[in-house]
């Protein structure tokens, strides 16, 4: 560690201390900038997807669910092709007379090449219309061939 000058002219000493204080102030500034950059908020959309176990229970007494299918370029509601704004309106109309959450299930079927950007917009529109999104996933079963 460097020895601090205790003697000498007062002006030189004061200049030396000022340099250190400037350095300290600069370090404080960098510290707060780094803290602020690491504290950036992320934005997101919460989504509740019913688990597959609860879904199998519901299929025993299957209510009439709404089906939305999507591919890379198209979205269809119960077999009819629609745009995303139309989807929101039509799903809201279909679910209007269904007060129970289990009756508001919307089955979402996606083609394997559907990009996530399309999927998130479609499911967002369904949720805005009051629907509960469930995903139809292909289940692999082991079949024993005798």
């Amino acid at each position: 560690m460097a020895a601090g000058p205790t003697g000498g002219s007062g002006g030189a000493h004061a200049a030396w201390v000022m340099n250190l204080l400037t350095d300290l102030a600069f370090n404080l500034l960098i510290f707060f900038v780094v803290c602020a950059s690491s504290a950036q908020e992320q934005k997101g959309k919460p989504q509740q997807v019913p688990s597959t176990q609860s879904e199998t229970k519901q299929t025993d007494t299957k209510p009439q669910t709404v089906e939305v299918a999507m591919t890379r370029t198209t979205v269809s509601l119960n077999g009819s092709e629609v745009t995303i704004p139309e989807l929101r309106t039509k799903v809201a109309a279909l679910l209007a007379n269904k007060p129970k959450p289990e009756d508001k299930i919307v089955e979402v079927k996606s083609a394997k090449d559907t990009p996530y950007s399309v999927w998130i917009r479609v499911t967002g529109a369904i949720e805005e219309a009051g629907g509960v999104v469930t995903i139809q996933v292909d289940v692999e079963k082991d079949v024993i061939v005798k």
Binding site: A2, L20, F31, Q42, K45, T52, Y116, S117
Partner: protein, 134 residues
């Protein structure tokens, strides 16, 4: 002729100590930041209705090369359910948030399975998206 020796008093540089402490703090801050997910390359999808979300214990990221990361560590999709369940532990509902950071061009063949697995693990999913620009 006698010359008087000046006494040189050695004093620790107290002002420099604060400087050194802040440099150390900055070093560890930046080191901690480098161990986060900044090296994972992904672009968020755009969606309407995005709200600020608090940091969660668990984040699952799918990058542009379809690689899956759990808290910045690459994992396989097969054992994702167990790993997420382990991370969430016995946390009560409301504290089981899982941030899903899925690259916008990821195909349904990957992300649907991932969403199903996170849901099976009991995670409360939050999709990290950008606010849709109109």
């Amino acid at each position: 002729m006698k010359f008087k020796r000046r006494k040189l008093e050695i004093v620790p540089p107290f002002v420099s100590m604060a400087d050194i402490v802040f440099n150390l703090v900055l070093f560890f801050l930046i080191l901690a930041k480098m161990q986060d997910e900044s090296q994972i390359q992904w672009e968020p999808a755009q969606a309407a209705g995005a709200r600020p979300v608090a940091k969660a214990k668990v984040s699952v990221t799918v990058d542009k090369d379809n690689k899956v990361y759990l808290n910045a560590k690459q994992v396989g999709l097969m054992n994702l359910t167990d790993l997420v369940a382990k991370e969430l532990g016995d946390s009560p509902p409301g504290e089981r948030t899982v941030l899903l950071k899925i690259h916008k061009d990821t195909l349904a063949a990957t992300f649907e399975d991932l969403i199903a697995k996170v849901s099976e693990a009991g995670g409360e999913m939050v999709h990290v998206v950008e606010e849709e620009r109109q």
